[in-house]
């Protein structure tokens, strides 16, 4: 019972970007993934990347309205990692026999699909933001990513007033949206 409560608290912390929750999850579960990946043709860095992707999958899952985890966090993370690593091996043309693992797993197809779909949109946004050039990139990142106000952005970028910054942000935003939707529709 206590363990269950603890898991709930961890998930709640995770949903709120609490670094203590993230740290606790790394401390309790990363070595399991490290072990699994390095025993199956992978490196320490591979394990780090795979684990981070699994963390993102879990993080995005806890944000869902109807969120519910039907198993232990450990089982969930391991299932995601195993699937992701299997895929990676196949892509590298390395996959041979079923992977060696003693841990129990659950079916996570749906979550992986969701992750991949979001990953595609994420990659587009990342690409188009980086193709914008300055000052648009920093201006939009300042506004959307770092949640800075127009006044603050105006002084940071040397605009005489907030209205000028707003104007510039508008132009940049229109460019970004145009680029984004040009690529975004392809995936549909």
């Amino acid at each position: 019972m206590k363990a269950e409560l603890n898991e709930q608290a961890l998930l709640k912390g995770l949903a709120q970007n609490d670094s203590r929750a993230v740290e606790a999850l790394y401390k309790s579960h990363f070595s399991m993934i490290q072990h699994f990946v390095t025993n199956n043709n992978g490196s320490f860095d591979d394990a780090r990347d795979i684990f981070q992707e699994a963390m993102i999958t879990l993080y995005e899952k806890v944000q869902l309205d109807n969120f519910g985890l039907t198993c232990q966090i450990k089982t969930y993370l391991f299932s995601i990692c195993k699937n992701l690593w299997l895929k990676r091996l196949q892509q590298m043309g390395k996959y041979s026999a079923p992977l060696s693992a003693q841990e129990e797993t659950i079916s996570v197809e749906e979550d992986l699909d969701r992750f991949e779909k979001k990953d595609a949109a994420f990659a587009i946004m990342d690409r188009v933001l980086n193709s914008l050039g300055e000052p648009c990139k920093s201006l939009l990142e300042g506004y959307y990513l770092n949640k800075k106000g127009m006044q603050e952005l105006a002084s940071q970028f040397g605009y005489t007033n907030a209205d000028n910054a707003k104007n510039q942000k508008y132009k940049c935003l229109m460019r970004l949206k145009k680029l984004f939707f040009a690529q975004y529709n392809i995936g549909e």
Partner: protein
């Protein structure tokens, strides 16, 4: 000015930054003006993706930070690494030569590309036109589906490399020179696959992002030099309304696909005089596919299509191939390749089925790996 106010209002509406009164007013406008409603929906979608991007970026950064702190504190030892690094060294010595060649080819292409910028000015507008190369995911999917088959026949993609893009290509010289689009070759190297599914190793001889043309040379002992090309490469420009067809590999199962259409304008996107506009249903994967007329002449190379207009595609004019050969000949490093374009009229059949049958052995699926 009005646009910016409208955009601002939409953003405030979507981020719940409006007074009740203002909100009611805005909703009323939204109901009566479908154009505005559409903008709201689109912006909501954009903000959702932006939020995902922001959240993921921040969360990834948090993960990296936590991980590095724990790593510095000695929580995990990347000790089991010995065997892995040993493997890496082995691989390195095995592929040292290949890497060196790849690096020199890469350097050469870089030099070349910058030199060629002077020759080819128009750049492609990524906004409104779509390159026709197949996306990564699609190919990966293919790999997944055919994973075991590929393993069985032993793919010629080097171990440790992963396919990242693909398209079509065709022989312009039976010595093994294959033309494709530069944007198809996203990675370090490529293989080509013929219509029978046979793979051949190829090296990238030339690639120019501005003209969007690239030249591969098949270098594989399994490659048997084909008989003379069954088509001519047309130097003069083609006529409006001319019947055209293409053969390429837009699908993942490596079946060759035929498409027909007509030449609809002498210039391409935004009046680009290096390309034709053609009316044909073009799918991703057609990039680099040849465009023929019914006189056994190659008139163009498929390269992109317009996003909004279905069936509108662009093909690089075939006379650009002559420019490409001139460039190769003018360069110390490539003049010995001796690429020859077929200018002799080919009498062959004008029957479409016979033409396809003749041509298909000269057309390849191109797969680039990193």
């Amino acid at each position: 000015m009005e646009d910016i106010q409208l955009q601002e209002a939409i953003e405030r509406y979507l981020t719940d930054d409006m007074s009740v009164e203002e909100r009611t007013q805005f909703e009323a406008i939204r109901k009566t003006k479908p154009g505005i409603d559409q903008m709201v929906i689109e912006h909501a979608m954009f903000l959702r993706e932006m939020e995902l991007y922001v959240n993921r970026t921040n969360f990834s950064a948090l993960n990296k930070q936590v991980f590095n702190q724990l790593l510095d504190a000695g929580t995990w030892a990347p000790a089991a690494e010995q065997s892995t690094s040993f493997k890496v060294i082995q691989l390195w010595s095995k592929y040292k030569k290949v890497t060196a060649i790849a690096a020199s080819v890469g350097g050469f292409i870089a030099l070349f590309t910058s030199a060629m910028v002077l020759f080819f000015f128009p750049s492609i507008n990524g906004n409104q036109i779509l390159e026709l190369s197949k996306a990564v995911e699609k190919i990966e999917q293919n790999q997944k589906v055919q994973g075991h088959i590929l393993n069985e026949v032993k793919t010629k993609v080097p171990e440790n490399s992963k396919l990242i893009s693909g398209g079509s290509g065709f022989l312009i010289d039976t010595k093994g020179f294959v033309i494709t689009n530069a944007h198809v070759l996203k990675g370090e190297g490529a293989i080509v696959v013929n219509s029978l599914g046979q793979e051949f190793k190829a090296t990238i001889v030339y690639s120019n992002k501005n003209s969007d043309l690239a030249l591969l040379k098949i270098e594989d002992e399994d490659y048997k030099q084909a008989k003379a090309l069954p088509f001519t490469i047309r130097k003069k420009s083609s006529d409006l309304g001319e019947d055209i067809f293409t053969l390429g590999f837009p699908r993942n199962d490596n079946d060759i696909v035929y498409g027909r259409g007509y030449l609809s304008a002498q210039t391409g996107f935004n009046g680009d005089s290096n390309t034709y506009q053609i009316q044909i249903s073009a799918n991703p994967g057609y990039s680099g596919a040849p465009v023929f007329n019914d006189k056994n002449e190659l008139i163009g190379i498929m390269s992109s299509r317009q996003k909004q207009a279905e069936g509108v595609a662009f093909a690089i004019k075939s006379d650009k191939l002559f420019d490409l050969v001139d460039i190769l000949e003018a360069n110390e490093l490539t003049k010995d390749l001796n690429v020859k374009l077929n200018k002799q009229k080919v009498k062959g059949s004008k029957n479409r089925k016979a033409q396809i049958n003749n041509f298909k052995n000269y057309i390849y699926s191109v797969r680039a790996f990193d």
